[in-house]
């Protein structure tokens, strides 16, 4: 019974709850039990809030019993990436600097989750301040890929993707600055969506790069993603960059999924060299399915995508260097007080800031802060930050031109399947290349959806395809993604995750 509850999609669980076949408390407890059983191996969670989740679940059950009208996802438990501020729950962004910090306020998307009655199971692991593609840059140890515990679940939102793939949660929240929702989804066989920039409020997301960050759903089905996206999306007066327009009908788009007559563009620059053969073959097959189903498939060139990675690694560090300046030990978080100041004697506020930041930030965060500080420096600004912004404009134009010819673009989500823990840790450039296909969407602010395309023949690990659509046309992701998902499930004879190895329950470690 319990295992049965775990394997349900969010939408299916919601139906059981609505029908009274199970309770939210029962479903929530089942997921908490699964976390207890497998998270010692997976390490998807940094903090589990059993008490809070069960209280929310009980409240939903009570309201349902009293006949109240509830949100369709009410009672379906969810995991939240630890970069999202949750009142009363620790929020660390994977950094030692925020170890133990409990925000006094909720992010807008958390307010919406709570109002809709989704029990929050806990906070998921991530690369420090969302900088990374493997969760190995988490200050609290890496997460492990449920498909192979020696491999990473991607990053930065590896915790959310691993939690969903390991059936620890049916739904999760991620954030995507350069691929941090889509790339982990790709390597864990799950679904992840980066909405249009401004589609989901950023209020309460600990900022990495303000002009790129976007929160979105991490799920096992396209329909679940649509439901969660509709719930957290929409205008928020607390976020100036939030789009003041209704969220498109995403759930309807999945239910009416049909690609007949849809013009699908295969991005020439996102494929070929550097892409693992199994990733390419599964991608080609999926595109073939779309064509078979009546889509008009053409090849499209976006020539400036070749410069996306370089521009991204100037814009992101520049904004990050400024966003991360606030972690200075003055008001919250870690405080390291050196014994003496730089000038001898009692340490000054500046000495404390220096010591705290030196001790608190990990190597990757420091690397990007230094890069960004340099890129914004007077005398270098035009050459670096300025040029990168020009490239950004050119990439947006590539998208605009492509979308005059096609309705959606497709590419592999990630160039490779999940890599081994430690494999790329000492090679930042190799690590950065994981996001080569996902970054253009962030630079242009357009939405992207990643869904599993199969398993690579060479390593048996999940591969994925991403669908990209024009800004505010997020419904197209779901129309195409939903149709493709149905065809792939037909071909596989069931969810891809059914083929993942079973995680064996580990005895709980009792702290000494």
């Amino acid at each position: 019974m319990s295992d049965d509850l775990l394997r349900l999609s969010g939408a299916a669980l919601a139906e059981r709850l609505a029908a009274g076949d199970t309770s939210s408390v029962e479903a929530t407890q089942a997921h908490l039990d699964q976390i207890a059983a497998v998270d010692g191996d997976v390490h998807a969670f940094l903090h589990v809030d059993a008490e809070g989740a069960l209280a929310q679940a009980a409240d939903v059950d009570r309201r349902r019993a009293s006949g109240a009208t509830l949100h369709r996802l009410a009672g379906v438990p969810i995991a939240v990436k630890d970069v999202v501020a949750t009142a009363g729950l620790p929020t660390t962004a994977g950094s030692r600097l925020l170890a133990g910090w409990v925000p006094p306020y909720d992010a807008t998307l958390i307010t919406r989750l709570r109002a809709a009655g989704l029990p929050i199971l806990g906070k998921t692991n991530m690369d420090e301040f969302a900088m990374g593609s493997s969760t190995e840059h988490s200050a609290f140890g890496p997460s492990h890929n449920p498909w192979d515990l020696d491999r990473t679940p991607g990053g930065s939102g590896g915790g959310s993707a691993a939690a969903v793939a390991a059936f620890e949660a049916p739904l999760a929240i991620g954030t995507d600055t350069g691929g941090s929702i889509r790339q982990p989804a790709a390597v864990t066989g799950t679904v992840g969506v980066k909405p249009t920039y401004g589609g989901v409020s950023r209020y309460g997301l600990i900022a990495l790069a303000s002009s790129l960050d976007q929160a979105g759903p991490v799920t096992r089905t396209v329909l679940d993603a649509a439901m969660l996206h509709e719930l957290i999306g929409g205008h928020d007066p607390l976020d100036s960059t939030s789009i003041d327009a209704p969220v498109p009908a995403l759930v309807d788009a999945v239910r009416d999924a049909d690609v007949r007559g849809v013009r699908v563009g295969v991005v020439r620059e996102l494929g070929g060299e550097g892409y693992q053969p199994g990733v390419r073959s599964r991608f080609d097959e999926a595109v073939g399915l779309l064509a078979d189903a009546g889509a008009e498939v053409v090849e499209v060139s976006c020539p400036h995508f070749d410069y996306a990675l370089a521009a991204y690694y100037l814009i992101l560090p520049s904004e990050a260097s400024s966003n991360l300046a606030r972690f200075d030990a003055m008001r919250y978080g870690l405080r390291v007080v050196p014994e003496t100041g730089a000038a001898g004697g009692v340490p000054s506020a500046e000495d404390v800031m220096l010591a705290t930041r030196a001790a608190g930030f990990g190597a990757e965060a420091k690397r990007r802060i230094i890069l960004g500080t340099y890129a914004l420096s007077s005398g270098y600004y035009d050459a670096y930050y300025g040029s990168a912004q020009k490239v950004r404009t050119l990439i947006s134009r590539d998208f605009e031109q492509a979308f005059t010819r096609v309705d959606v673009l497709v590419s592999p989500t990630a160039p490779t399947t999940a890599f081994r823990l430690g494999e790329k840790l000492d090679d930042p450039l190799a690590m950065y290349l994981n996001d080569v296909a996902t970054i253009p969407a962030n630079l242009a602010g357009v939405p992207g959806l990643s869904l599993p395309s199969g398993l690579a023949e060479e390593d048996g690990l999940p591969t994925a395809l991403q669908v990209l659509a024009p800004a505010t046309a997020d419904d197209r992701l779901y129309r195409v993604g939903g149709a493709l998902e149905t065809m792939l499930l037909d071909r596989w004879g069931g969810p891809l995750l059914d083929r993942a190895p079973a995680l064996t329950a580990q005895p709980q470690q009792v702290p000494a």
């Binding site: 999202v84 925000p103 309460g204 100036s240 400024s322 200075d328 008001r331 009692v346 914004l376």
Partner: protein, 497 residues
């Protein structure tokens, strides 16, 4: 140090002023927190103005409106599209370690304003720009002798001020006033205060820091002629009273002249002004200046005021202070000196309201500039802070005009009003201060005084009218001052004729 005159013999001073105005909006620049001055430390804060992780700014539309009105009042062009930037530097009183400020895209540029000097002449000051930014928190350094960070054992930070909207108004170099530069600096700041007050965008209280001034000074040798470039300038920070502005500029002119005459050079630097000793000391030099790494603020959308809105704001600007002063002086029949004193005492609005409530302009001016100014000074208050309204002053003057109280009684009535005993009328009744206007009662008191002072009465009868003063005094004393002295005099002379 060398004298001001000597400094001017050799050099021509050029000044520039940067004035920060705290806008009087109800809420902060980027969040909904209150802006009340003097609230308990850190009681007016929220995730946004504390810079908590995840918080975001939202623009205060009222602050933008105020900034545009200031720009318009200074004759500036208003940008159709502009942005905020981040000015990055670390300081404990800056919650995000960057200040959200306009940088290369200010809301208002290229204006000018006519400053009226104390002698009635005017000086045109060109405005470079007016831009919006947020204020920082306030550090209190504890344990040192001077309240400065040097020598302090620890610091306390109050973030109530963090995020309060500021407009910074920057002049172009003011060339031309020459020896009058210190007075022009002062007059400009006074003029800005008046203008901002008329706009109603700030309470412009320099002593509370809602108007803060940085004064730039440079010198160039007289021998070089008018075409030579400007000299190296210093920027004296936080000169926070009108008197200090003038003193600081004057001091800096003398100091720089001395350095230059001794063969030295001026370092481009910020300097601190010391109110107590009247000198400036070095702050940060240009070489030490931080690289602020400005870049466009990605958390805010651009400000793009519509032409219609800007035109509407232009149409609804208040009358410029200079024109208004001239109009009121004409309407009231005030001399130039009277008008200047009225403005100088900060009584223009008070006199205007008093006149509007029915008092004669000269009477209103007298009340506010003498009796009430004296009382405000004694109590250490601004005129406007006295517990008497212009309406009450007009009512009091009405009692005087009707002969119901004399000047002495009127002052006692004022005591009552200031003590919170009610309106002038109520105080007159409660304290029994009305003059005795019943002739029978007055005549009785006059007769009594004549009987008590027969020798004086005799003198008056002999024609020495001046002696009647003693009798009038006796009557007034007997009636505890509650009589019209002129009427008493009439009766005394009548009885003794």
């Amino acid at each position: 140090m060398i004298s001001y005159d000597e400094a001017l013999e050799h050099f021509e001073p050029v000044i520039g002023l940067e004035v920060h105005v705290e806008l009087g909006t109800v809420s902060k620049m980027f969040c909904g927190c209150a802006t009340t001055f003097g609230a308990d430390p850190n009681s007016q804060v929220c995730p946004t103005c504390l810079g908590l992780p995840g918080s975001l700014p939202v623009m205060n539309g009222k602050a933008v409106e105020s900034a545009i009105r200031i720009g318009l009042a200074l004759g500036c062009d208003i940008a159709g599209w502009c942005r905020f930037a981040r000015k990055n530097y670390f300081y404990p009183d800056m919650p995000k370690n960057f200040q959200t400020s306009q940088y290369d895209e200010p809301i208002a540029v290229e204006g000018s304003t006519e400053v009226v000097m104390p002698d009635g002449s005017t000086v045109r000051v060109d405005i470079e720009r007016a831009h919006m930014e947020e204020d920082t928190g306030k550090s209190l350094h504890v344990g040192g002798a001077t309240g400065r960070i040097h020598g302090a054992s620890h610091s306390l930070v109050d973030y109530n001020r963090a995020g309060i909207p500021l407009v910074e108004i920057v002049t172009k170099p003011v060339i031309g006033p020459d020896s009058k530069a210190p007075e022009v600096a002062r007059a400009y700041v006074a003029h800005l205060r008046e203008l901002l007050l008329a706009l109603g965008v700030s309470d412009v209280r320099m002593e509370q820091g809602s108007l803060r001034c940085d004064a730039n000074v440079s010198l160039r040798p007289r021998s070089g002629g008018p075409q030579q470039p400007l000299g190296t300038r210093t920027e004296t920070k936080n000169v926070n009273s009108l008197r200090s502005v003038e003193r600081a500029v004057r001091h800096e002119i003398c100091r720089q002249a001395e350095v230059l005459l001794a063969g030295g050079t001026i370092t481009q630097e910020t300097r601190h002004w010391h109110e107590d000793t009247g000198i400036t000391t070095p702050g940060r030099s240009k070489e030490q200046a931080e690289d602020y790494r400005y870049f466009p603020e990605p958390d805010l959308v651009p400000v793009a005021p519509s032409t219609q809105w800007v035109e509407h704001l232009r149409q609804t600007l208040p009358e410029p202070p200079g024109l208004r002063r001239a109009r009121l002086a004409g309407e009231w029949g005030f001399s130039e000196l009277e008008m200047r004193d009225t403005v100088g005492a900060g009584a223009l609005e008070l006199v205007e309201s008093t006149v509007a409530s029915g008092a004669a302009p000269q009477a209103a001016r007298k009340w506010w500039l003498s009796e009430l100014s004296r009382r405000a000074r004694a109590a250490g208050l601004e005129l406007s802070e006295l517990q008497v309204s212009p309406q009450q002053v007009a009512e009091l003057q009405g009692l005087v005009d009707a002969g119901r109280v004399n000047d002495t009684l009127a002052r006692q009535v004022l005591d009552g009003v200031l003590a919170g005993e009610g309106s002038p009328e109520q105080v007159v009744v409660a304290r029994g201060l009305e003059v005795v206007s019943d002739d029978a009662a007055l005549t009785e008191a006059v007769d009594q005084a004549i009987a008590d002072h027969p020798d004086v009465a005799a003198k008056v009868r002999e024609g020495k009218v001046a002696a009647s003063g003693a009798l009038i005094g006796a009557v007034m004393k007997q009636l505890r001052g509650q009589a019209d002295a002129a009427r008493v005099r009439e009766l005394v002379l009548q009885r003794l004729s």
